[in-house]
């Protein structure tokens, strides 16, 4: 069902796209033909294998001439005979137009050219590839480890690494970062301020190294990796059918569980050619939107915690509403946070009996929601003090946002009209009546406003899903497709699929190697890209505004570090 729709959309959109290129592989190949070694198409996009010294040429040609302005993800992987970096490009205007640029390098000398001058977002992605797989990037501005500590030996996702062997960081290794800071050397006007990794304003274990000039932020460098719990290794060691599905719940634990599971399900279903029954798609859509409301409520509560500074009314109200959502999700899935509700080809079970009671509970929640949102607007967005703190602080303009691969409410708050649910439709979203919310401010206030208005839209979607589920004929309630007990997609099949998570575009790249476990499983986390833009947003701002900006980005460190 969903795959058919995608094809239709792509077919319908192709003439509208101004360039003849689109996702038309041959036309694209003609653009960069002098660099292309061979074609290696992925399931989702045409792929071009290029020389390691032509990365910037090819990417900038695609960016400038074919309009691929979104470097969604960089995947690095090690094969028996080579290292590969794959750049997944797509367009902000139409994410169904995709192209993969594959850069192989030899095992002896895994050096390829950096893409950082073309796409700023490649900075962090390449550092991660270097950290976990061991590819070197020539001319990269700062090719250091990003997730693992500096003292780490080896590259854990490489082929010859022993993943069972633990490594540790001694207490002494983590010396006080302020100890060596020579205040007088060179620039005596600045002060180094160390925020985190244990700090109430960082929403988890984020470490922000800040250089202050008076009260203004002169430089800021987010140091991540304090929650890198090897999600990609876990997925690569699990079987497609059942063992991977519990882990996505723990990426974005906001709880965006069902949305994350859907990201994996979408990629794996594409890989194994599974059609999902329509009834299951409606259930998935409803579950996802309930999760989105819970996530946005958490973002709202903790953002106001940062702004107002204590466990005050707004935080408590947001938690109260989240309790209701979590109760509904518990009724549906059996768990408050780690749902494990989706299966490849459908969902695990239908809505709980008695159905009427569940629908009534959801309706009650939806009926009360407008009143509660009005209350929030009175308390937050209508509050002058709050406006003074958030309007025109942490500004991110649309071009910078695109350059950093920013997606989700953060991008939509900067006026980038991009939502995977609408632009690359999956599930039942296409059949439903809802709007993509955008704001033009680009500041902290706009981002909060986008989230609050998205809650209304999610409520609209849930309402329509409830109507559909109620009227669905009893003998057509098919919750799972017929999926073989063991899935073994054929070797060499590769795909990259995304869904719209609560924080932005959540993508999964899977390469099948012919066994029942993925050969490479890569997670494109929206928070990771969003957080990398922090420097652009807060340099030159006051230090309290840095905290507000961090809050409005709504990073979940489990998803940043994976």
């Amino acid at each position: 069902m969903s795959t058919q729709k995608e094809e239709e959309t792509e077919g319908a959109d192709a003439p509208v796209a101004a360039t003849e290129a689109g996702a038309d592989g041959d036309a694209l190949e003609a653009l960069v033909s002098e660099h292309v070694l061979e074609r290696e198409d992925h399931l989702n996009a045409p792929g071009f294998v290029i020389r390691a010294d032509a990365v910037q040429d090819v990417l900038s040609t695609f960016k400038e001439e074919a309009g691929f302005d979104h470097l969604s993800c960089v995947t690095a992987e090690e094969h028996e005979d080579r290292f590969e970096s794959i750049y997944h490009l797509r367009k902000y205007d139409d994410p169904t137009q995709e192209v993969s640029v594959i850069v192989p390098t030899s095992r002896e000398e895994p050096v390829s050219e950096t893409a950082e001058p073309v796409f700023r977002t490649a900075d962090w992605h390449e550092r991660e590839a270097h950290d976990l797989v061991g590819v070197e990037y020539d001319d990269h501005p700062n090719l250091e480890r990003i997730l693992l500590p500096d003292t780490w030996q080896g590259h854990p996702l490489g082929l010859d690494y022993n993943q069972d062997k633990p490594q540790i960081v001694t207490f002494e290794e983590n010396k006080n970062p302020l100890e060596d800071h020579e205040r007088a050397a060179g620039d005596s006007d600045t002060m180094f301020l160390n925020i985190g990794p244990h700090h109430p304003a960082t929403h988890g274990v984020l470490h922000v190294e800040t250089v202050l000039d008076g009260e203004q932020v002169a430089d800021v460098n987010p140091d991540i990796g304090y929650l890198h719990r090897c999600e990609e290794q876990m997925a690569q060691n699990g079987t497609y059918r059942h063992q991977i599905m519990p882990y996505p719940d723990r990426w974005d634990y906001g709880p965006g569980g069902i949305i994350n599971e859907w990201a994996y399900a979408r990629a794996a279903e594409d890989l194994a050619d599974i059609e999902v029954p329509e009834y299951a798609q409606v259930l998935r859509t409803m579950g996802s939107e309930l999760c989105r409301i819970a996530c946005h409520m958490l973002a709202l509560g903790t953002f106001c915690l940062d702004i107002y500074g204590d466990f005050t009314a707004i935080f408590m109200y947001a938690m109260r509403d989240r309790e209701v959502v979590q109760k509904l999700l518990e009724d549906l899935t059996g768990q408050r946070m780690m749902f494990n509700y989706l299966r490849l080809g459908g969902v695990v079970w239908d809505v709980p009996e008695p159905r009427e009671e569940f629908f009534e509970n959801v309706r009650d929640f939806l009926d009360e929601l407008p009143e509660r949102l009005d209350e929030y607007h009175d308390l937050i967005t209508g509050n002058e003090i709050f406006q003074a703190r958030t309007i025109d602080t942490g500004v991110l303009d649309a071009e910078t946002a695109k350059n950093y691969g920013v997606t989700g409410p953060v991008a939509r708050g900067s006026g980038v009209d991009y939502d995977v649910r609408r632009d690359d439709p999956y599930g039942y979203y296409e059949e439903l009546d809802w709007d993509v919310v955008t704001e033009d401010g680009g500041d902290n206030y706009s981002r909060l406003l986008v989230r609050m208005r998205e809650v209304e839209q999610s409520a609209r979607i849930i309402e329509q899903c409830i109507d559909l589920l109620e009227d669905w004929p009893e003998d057509e309630r098919n919750i799972q497709a017929n999926v073989p007990r063991t899935l073994k997609p054929e070797a060499g099949k590769e795909t990259y699929k995304t869904v719209e998570g609560a924080k932005g575009e959540l993508g999964i790249y899977i390469r099948a190697d012919g066994t029942e476990k993925p050969g490479r499983f890569k997670i494109r986390s929206p928070c990771f890209s969003n957080l990398s833009a922090l420097k652009e947003m807060s340099t030159g701002e006051y230090i309290p505004d840095l905290v507000a900006t961090l809050g409005s980005l709504d990073v979940i460190l489990g998803e940043v570090d994976r």
Binding site: Y161, E172, G225, F311, M319, R320
Partner: protein, 235 residues
């Protein structure tokens, strides 16, 4: 009015208490026992013999928690602090941002190699006596991520732990139960096992010898690695 004579207002207001006390004391007791402390503590004249117990009860009944979020469990921990579950009802609900003001650390999430030393630093900054509640499977044993190359197999490798709460994540009710159990233990004067397995020493020996490892091995001061947490010996 001198301070060794009970005021009429107090005696009058606590009349039922006083009459009960008089009944228990029997006749002929000297009136010099009547004092303000007597008013407060009832008939037992020997409050000092029970002061330790009293302090333990106070400790258990007024716990300041460290506001310490690591991973998924911290979301459930926030729910436990706020409406509906409201940990404050159980004398344990004030999250303090600074470890120097906290008595109890709830460890809500997976500990990874980069974070373990930082967590120990935070723990060291808390004033004695301090208590640790492990929330969830990750901080108990590594949980679903136990096989991860970067995951420390439980917070107990780094710091001593009083209470383990299983679950992934535990429900807020489970956390409330765990905290109540901790209060019970504190009120009875029990503490956690004192010697901690130094995770550095145990796991360091397996690594390939190369320059960095050698250097790190030389840097380890084995004295500092043996962590003993003991109320009696602590400053």
């Amino acid at each position: 009015m001198s301070s060794d004579q009970p005021r009429d207002s107090i005696t009058g207001s606590s009349d039922p208490l006083t009459s009960t006390r008089d009944a228990r004391m029997g006749e002929g007791v000297d009136s010099r026992f009547n004092s303000r402390l007597r008013e407060a503590f009832g008939s037992t004249p020997f409050i000092l013999t029970k002061f330790d117990k009293f302090m333990n009860w106070v400790r258990g009944s007024s716990m300041f928690m460290l506001q310490f979020g690591i991973a998924c469990c911290s979301i459930e921990m926030m729910h436990t602090y706020s409406v509906k579950h409201d940990l404050d009802r159980f004398h344990a609900g004030v999250p303090r941002a600074s470890p120097r003001q906290a008595d109890v650390m709830i460890v809500p999430g997976t500990i990874v190699s980069k974070f373990a030393p930082r967590m120990k630093r935070v723990y060291d900054q808390m004033p004695e006596p301090k208590f640790v509640v492990n929330m969830g499977n990750c901080s108990t044993s590594g949980g679903p991520f136990q096989e991860g190359y970067n995951v420390v197999k439980g917070a107990e490798e780094v710091i001593p732990v009083d209470i383990h709460i299983p679950g992934c994540p535990p429900r807020p009710e489970a956390l409330v139960y765990g905290v109540a159990k901790l209060q019970e233990r504190i009120a009875n004067g029990e503490t956690s096992p004192v010697t901690v397995k130094p995770y550095e020493l145990e796991e360091f020996g397996d690594l390939d010898r190369d320059e960095i490892v050698d250097k790190l091995a030389d840097d380890i001061d084995e004295e500092t690695l043996v962590m003993r947490y003991n109320w009696a010996d602590s400053p």
